[in-house]
Amino acid sequence: MRDSIYFNESNDSYVEQVVNSILVNSNLIENWLSFKNDILSDKSTRISTFIASLIYLITFLLLTEENRLRVPYILKHYYPHINFDTVNGWDILRFFLQSIWLITVRTSIVKKTIDDNIALTVRILAFIKAALYSPFKKTTHFIRLKTDQFDKSHSINEDNYQNDFHPFAYVLLIIFIASISVTIPFTIYAQAIFSFLLWIVAVLAYPIVGQISRLVLITLSLTISSRYLWWRYSETINIDSSIDTFFGIVLIFAETYTWIILFLGFFQSVWPLERKPKTLPENTNQWPSVDIFIPTYNEALDIVKITTLAAINIDWPKEKLHIYILDDGNRPQFKEFCEQVNVGYLTRSDNIGAKAGNINQALTVTNGEYVTIFDCDHIPVRSFLQVTMGSFLAEKKLALLQTPHHFYSPDPFERNLNTFKKTPNENSLFYGVVQAGNDLWNAAFFCGSCAVLKRAPLLEVGGIAVETVTEDAHTALNLHRKGYHSAYLNIIQASGHATESLSAHIGQRIRWARGMAQVFRIDNPLLGPGLSLSQRLCYLNAMLHFFGGVPRLIFLLAPLGFLVFHSFSIYASGIEILLYALPAIIHSSITSAYMQGRYRHSFWAEIYETVLAWYIAYPTTVALFNPKIGSFNVTAKGGLIKDSFFDLTISKPYLFLIGLNLVGIGFAIFRYIYGPTHEDLTVSINLVWTLYNLIVLGGAISVAQESRQVRSEHRIEINTEVLLRKESGHLLTALMIDFSNSGLGLKFDSTAFTILKNEKLHVIIPRGDREFIFPIRAININNNSLSVVFDNLNLNQQLELVKCTYSRSDAWCSWDNYYNIDKPLSSLISILAVGFHGYVILAKKLPKPILKPFLIALHSKSFIQSLLPVNIVSHQY
């Protein structure tokens, strides 16, 4: 009332009246503060605050209070690329461009998760695909119905499969037909039409899930690549010119190797067996006794401790479960720990035979019916034995059961390329497809850890094999030779720490490669008694796989033969090469993508194999000639890369190869300009090949850029509701989002409770009927996130902690949900990005004057990109 009287009596101008009304309006300041809090953080610059106040004044004059409060959210939502805390002149341009874009272009765009460019490409492709399929829709549907029927009536499981093919008449007939379609010479046009027709069939079969399309795709791919190889052998070797002959033979050697691997790979995973766990008898008296061996040599007690505690937690009758730590390091503190937790501690006087010798020694002093082996950093879940042992009781001849090796931390590839939990890693193809494929042929082999072995057969073959450095595969081979069965159960029942550094990772692979080459030499699976043909082929593939180093290097250098030395290593015209080689490549890509599904994304193998190629080429070749050379080296794990660095030593060979390929590009340009015109196509083919090689080599360089690891202990995601108890007795609920050996990550409602840094708390973690309480200390509080460390847990509490975390039987259940189904094209784009990134890394190593233009170009590219309008997630405000 007083206010209105005041206004009525005043003689102020209209502007002054407005200003006065603003000033007396007590909400103004309050609203401004909330407006400011909504749009700015504490770190805003003065200019930003000033601009925000201008915006606020404008909104104050134009909008109602309700709408005014929404303005900060609207701004942040529609201008996500502007950081309102640090506004500068360019942001005005950004604001302007984005506004125009919002008004004119954006109508209603749905949420997008991938890069716009990729999305557009994918959409165009989807359109083409739809156009291609629509005429065949009915046919496809018909085929799908038929194949479903076939799959239902021919489903294979571990109970009804026969793991060898006998009907030789069939095989002969197939070989006869195949040899006709492979060897018959075609004119260029005939070959073009033939390839096109096969491609159509492949494209039709690809979207149909089931065994028939798998077989169709395999047949097509084998036909077309055999045709290629036949054509290469019969028509394209020029024996007149010595240099052509030399390059031609080298290349055809690599191609033959690839063809063999392709054939064996298809054979191996033609029909992966999806084995299911078998139930155990109700009466636990009938359950067999099991010894668990945890061999260790130089690993820290902290690592072995977790594994041991998890082994103690395994659900199995206590009197039938014996755990032993096999310490080759002979360390007193290990002995003390074993006495505390009441598990066996075994040592020996010498270290002959490394891990294999260690286990063999333990076999002499223990007596469980079954032996389970865990590497000291593979932490089993509590259901491990209950899931695995049923198979042994159901199948008397079964001597070995392997489960996947799973890693909760990123391997060097995943860490350095930032693909962890996005793209399946190197491992997942082997444990997802290859081992399950082996299992069909009764050829699943032992991988050294996370496996159960039956003692009697193991002793019969003389324990774990000691002659080679891959004792695991060799032992499985020995068991198979004696007629015992093996099985693979694709259920993650243990989890471990991946190798930390690229050099350690490569070291491990070198050992595997050398060991496989040794087995190939001294106990060749093609020779010797006891194996079925299919087992021989599966083992052959496993071993030949590691000889891939030399052929890979040949492919990385092959285009130089023409570009630099002008040698026609493939003695044919460019068009012929295209018509024979391209279909072979396309078909093998389609078929591999179909068979590997979500366990490996297309083209990533190129990077994995390229990185390893140089390093396994030498040891495998040496081991082939002299299998005695070479020793067992322990894979170092759990190290910490404190600063990111570029591993120059590892990448030297790749820098050399990149250099050679760059020379090749120089020659290509030279030949394109000055060479005869009829060679243009050949030059182009070789140029594209060189560019592809450069991309893959760039990827190898990206891997060698070791990124920094923030923590020594990897934090593992989890999602469990827990209670927090303050010292005062107050309880609050919180969400446990990750855990490690030393601490937890939690989310809690910080508006309702205050937790101070270094405050002592208790966390109560429920598991089943029980709940477990652990003393913790808060070390970091940021809004709702809370990091805590455990406060001096005693041994019993550590055991309980493992029970609540690593040992949970569902701990790794949802792991492969992270991986999407393979999309070859987006895979290719990711590979391009990875390869490009490698060159960015290299560019940054260049001397400053040369580097500058590159950096400017890079910066200006990202700067211009930052000005462009960005898409926003559709959401109503």
Partner: protein, 254 residues
Amino acid sequence: MPILCVQGIQGSVGNSTVVANVARLLQELNQDVLVFDLNPNNLLRLHFNMDWQNPVGWASHITHKKPWYQAAFKCEQGVQFIPFGTLDYTEYEHLIHEVIYENWLSQQLENLNFPASKWIILNTSNELNTLSVQALNACNMIIRVCTPDLSCLSQLVNSIQSNYINSRPELSDKAFFLINKLSAVSQLENDLSLVFKNLMQKKLIPVNVHDDENIKEAFAFKSTVSLYASKSAATKELRSLAIWLLTQFNVQSS
């Protein structure tokens, strides 16, 4: 009409606290709730911010020849409650032996003529007398509150109350157990709660209420915990209990 009878297995197990808090949380879940304090210790009213000195209650009304239902209150948040009232020893003896005739409680509840959706929660003394026996018989679910300690365990196995309920299938069938004041730090209480679970099997309500300082503080504020500390673990657990009750009665009514 869901009628709950909440009775402690012995004294000081937090009976009134559970009743007041569950009533409040049911009401937060849009239920219409009336709590009826049949316990002469007359504690329930304090959770609903009633004056310490105020002697009003249904029992005192009866003693003073007033209609008992005029002692009903409604707290700010909407929960209706009827306190017991303050009586002296002779008044109480008179009430128990002279006034409360057989089936008094069920008749009174019937006469109130509430809609079928109304929740009635009877806060019942752990000692067996006319009132508590009538409450046990009149309700459609008994919640027997216990704390995870040895005295409760012994009362559970062998006491007048337990024997009375266990020997009557119509009572033991509708009886459920609630573990209250479970200390998170006590190893013994954790182990005992497992023993309770084994003993009670499916009769144990699958929500344990932990010993939370917030509950005590809320009582000191003459309030319920969901008002006093809405984000506390106690609120969450009691809310789960309320939701469990909802599901139980939906199952029974359908």
